[in-house]
Amino acid sequence: MSSFKESEGLRIVNTWMAEKGQAPFQFQMQTWQRHGNGYSGMVVAPTGFGKTFSVFLAVVIDYLNHPEKYKKGLKLLWISPLRSLAKDLAKAMTEAIDEIGLDWSVQVRNGDTPTAKRRRQERLMPDVLLTTPETMHLLFSQKKNSRWFKALKCVAIDEWHELLGNKRGVLTELAISQLRHYSPRLQIWGITATIGNLQEAKDVLLPYSDLKITQITAKQKKKLDIISVLPDEIEVLPWAGHLGAKMADKILPIIAANTTTLIFTNTRGQAELWYQVLLNAQPDLAGLLAIHHGSIDKKLRNWIEDNIASGYLKAVVCTSSLDLGVDFKPVDCVIQIGSVKGIARFMQRAGRSGHSPFERSKIYFVPTHSLELVEVSALKKAVKDKQMESRDPMVLTFDVLVQFMVTLAVGEGFKADALFHRIRQVHAFQYITSDDWQWCLHFITKGGKTLHSYEEFHKVILDEGDIYRVKSRRISMLHRMNIGAIVSEAHMMVKFFSGGYIGMIEEFFISKLKPGDSFILAGRVLELVQIKDMTVLVKRSKAKKAVSPSWLGGRLPLTSNLSHYLRLQLSHALEPGRLEKELRFLNPLVSRQEAHSHIPKADEFLVELIETRDGHHLFMYPFEGRLVHEVFSALMAYRISKIKPMTFTIAMNDYGFELLSDQTIPVDESNIKTLLSETHLMDDVIASINASEMASRKFRDIAVIAGLVVQSQPGTRKNNKSLQSSSGLIFRVLEDYEPDNLLLRQAYTEVFNQQLEEARLQQAFQRISKSKIVVKSAKSFTPLSFPLKVDSLRGTMSNESLDKRIQRIKAQSFKID
C-alpha cells in the first residue's frame, strides 16, 4: 500500500488541503486509498465532515495517478436525491478542481436544467455530472445514450439512506445496473448517514459478486445540544392543533441571539402559518426572514438558498425541503416546531446547524401541543442511547420495473434475455421468477393477459433483431413525462395575473376556493382571479384574513424506536427525575389526566370511553404510530361490531386512535381482554380491514409509475384531458377482469408490508396482552384524547350495508356537502 501513500496524486491533494489549513480525516484517507486499489463500497459519516470529498477526491487522486486510464467525457457520475444539493456541491467541486489545477468541468443536470444546456451536455458530457435518479432514467430514455457512459469510471450515490426504503432507491439500483452494463469495470460508492441497518444498506447498493467491496466508517461524532422551549405557563399551550402562536415571543429572542436560524416545520401549511406569525410578531424581520418549501418557485428557492449561504438572511422557515446536505456555513441554530416523528430525522435536522466539523449542533424544540414535550424527553433519551431507525429496502416493485423496461425501449431498446439476466442481479428483483418476467414483457407489449386481442395497443413492440422498442413518438413523449417514482397530488402553478411565478398548489385545495377568495402562498396573501390551463392566476390581496393552504402529503408516522421511548417517558411522567425539565413542566397536565382518567404506566394499557354531543367515543393509546393505529383501530371496530353491528368513524394520530359512533359502544371491563386478545390476530385483521380499499389507495402510485394513469402537467396547455381517469377506476377494472395482474398483487403486498406493519402489530399485541388494561369513563375529553379529536386523520369502517347506512343517516336528517 505504500505506493499509494507516496503517489503523486495524494501528494497534490494533501498539499492543496494543507494550503487551506486542513488535513484529511482518517475516513477520507481510507476511502482514497481503497478507491485507488479498485474497491467499491460505502462511506458512513455524519454531515459536516467532508463526506463529499471522501469519494470525489478519491476519483481526482486516481486520475492524477493514472491519467492514461481515463478517456474523454464523463468520468464521475454523482447521484443524489435532492436537486437543491447539486448546485452547491458543483460549486465546491469546481473550486477544488480549479485550485488543484485540473481542467475538468463539473455540471449539474436535473429537472431544472435549461434545454439549451442539456443539448450542450448531450454533445459533450462534462467530466463530472451531478444528477438525480429520475434524470438518470430520463438519460436512458434517449437515443444512443450508451455513448455517454462508456468512459465512466465511478458512480457515487450520495445520501443513500434517503433513497433506500423507497421506490427512488429501486430506480437507483436499476440505474447502477444499467451503468454497469455500459461500463463493466465501474466502481460504485455509496455515502450514507448512520442508520439502523447499515449492512443491509450496503448489500442493496452493492449486490454484485465481482466487485471488491468495503465499508468505511467515520469515527467523528457530532456534539449535540437539545433545548426545549417552554411557554411561561402550561395553559399557554393549546392542547392540540397546529399553532402555538404565542410561542413566537419565545422564538424571536433565539433568532436574535444567533447568526442564522433554520426553523423546521413538519408541513408546508405549517411553514406558511409560522412565517406569518413571526412576521406579525416582529414586522422588522421583513426581508431578513424567508420561507422555503417544496411548493415554492425554484428561482425563489435558489435565491433563498444563496442568501442563507451568504449569511444575509437571519432566519428561514422551512420544511424537509432543507433537510439534506447543503453546506450552509452561517447556520448556527436550528429550531424544530412540532413533533419530528423519528430519531434519525431529528439528528439530521439538528446537524444542519454548526455544520463544520468541530462545532456543536444546537437544536431548539418548540412544542405545538403539550404531549410533544414528552416526545422531546423521549428524543433526548433515544439520542443518548444512539437508537437509530432502520430503512427497509423495497423489493419486487413491478411498477418501477415495467417503467424501466419501457424507458429502455424508448431509448436504445433491449433484448429480453440479457435484460432479465441483469435485472435478477439487482437486489430489488433477486427473487423475480421467469413467469413474473414474462408477465412484465406481456404487459408492455400487449397490455396484460386479457388484452391480447386488441390491435390498437402498441406500447412496446418486438422489432428486428429481437429488440424491444417503442416506435410511437407520442407514446415516447407520454412516457418521458411520466418517468420517476415520486407521485404527487395534482398540482397547479400559481402565477400573478401580471406575470411571474409564485409556486405550486394542490388542485384539491384550490378547487375549494372561488374567485375573489384569498389564500397564502410563499408568505404572500393572494387573491384568486381565475384558473386557466392548470394555472392559477392571482393578484395581490389586501385581505387581512386568508386561508393557509394544506398539502395532503408529508404526514409521517412516528417510528417504532421513538414510540418505545415515548411510552417509557410518559409512564413515569407523574414522578419526573430532577433533570427532566420537560416532564416536570408538564406535571400539571399529567396530573389532570391522572385525576380525570389515568396515566398508563409502562405495564399498562389505557382505554377511555367518553360520551359527547358528537356521539360515543372510544379511545385507545397504543403509542405505535399512525399506520399501526389505522390497522389496530379497524381491528377493534371489527371485533366490537361482531358484538353489535354498527358503523364507526375512526380517527388516529401517533399516540392513539378514536372510534366514534352514533350508538353506544358495547365495551367494558368484562369484554376488553377478549377484544384485545392476541388469538386470531392476523385472521381478524384481514377480515377487518377493507384490504381492497387499502390496496386501491396503494395502487394510485403504482398506476402512475407503471404508466396506467397519465398525470396532468402543471402549467402546460396540453393536459391530456381525454386520457384522464382515476387509478381507482382502473383498479376496479383489473380486479374484475385480471385478478392475477402483478401490479394489483404488488398493491396488496405493499398494504401488508407497509400499511399493516405486521411485525410491529404483533409485537404491540404481545405487549398489550402482558399489560394491565385500564378502562376509564370520562365526562369530557381528557388531555390525551383531545388532540385526537381536533388533529387527526379520519376514515370510516362499517359492516352495515350501503343502503342500511343511508337509511340511518337519513333518519338523522341528511346534510349535504
Binding site: L451, L478, G615, L660, G707, L802, I809
Partner: protein, 215 residues
Amino acid sequence: MNIITEHIIVKEEELNLTNQRAVYYDRLRALILSDVHIGKTAHFRRHGIPVPDHILQKDLERLKFLIEYFKVKTVYVVGDLFHAETNSNMKTFKMWLSQFKDLKMILIKGNHDRQSPHLTENLNIKVEPSLQLGPFNLIHEPVEKPSKLFTVSGHTHPGVIIKGRGKQKLKLPCYQLTSHQLILPAFSLFTGLNTRTMPKDAKCFGFTETSIFKI
C-alpha cells in the same frame, strides 16, 4: 340488474329517474341519458394504457336492459356519446345497435362529440346542437342562468357527498334537479364523480345498485 325508479313531475310531465343512470319519459316512450363516452377504452389503449373493453360491454348491456324493460322507442343522448377519435369501439357499438330494429337514437352534440359526421350518418343517429322535447330543452352543458325552457343536460358527471352523525361520509352519483333544470349522471361507469359543481338550490337524487332516493 335492478331497475328502481323515482317519479318526479316536472312541467306537468312525469319523468322516471332510474338508479341505472338514465331517465325514462313514459309519455313519449323515450330514454334520456348522457355521457356514454364510447371509444374511451380504445382511446386509452392507443396511448399505451391497457384498459379492456369489458367496461364498454357492461355499459351497453345495461342500456339494452333499460331499452327492453321500458320498451323504449327513442333514445336521446344529451351529449358525449363518443369519447375521442373514431376507433374499434365504434364497430362494437354499431353491432350492438343493429339488434334494435325500430329504435331511434338522437344525439345532442357534446364537447367530446367531434368525430366526422360520417360516423353518425353511418350509425343512423341524428345529431342536433340542442333539441326541444315537449316542455324540455335538451342540451349538453348545464345552463348557468334560468332560461325560458326547462333544460335537461349532462356533462358534469354529478356526484353528491352525504354526511351523517359520527362524521360519516358517503359519495354517490346523482341527478341534480332545480326549478329550471335537470342534470343527469354520466351513463358510463368508466367516468369519475364530480361533487364540486352543485347548482344553487339543487335537490339531489342519489342512487346505488339497489335504491334511489332524494337527499
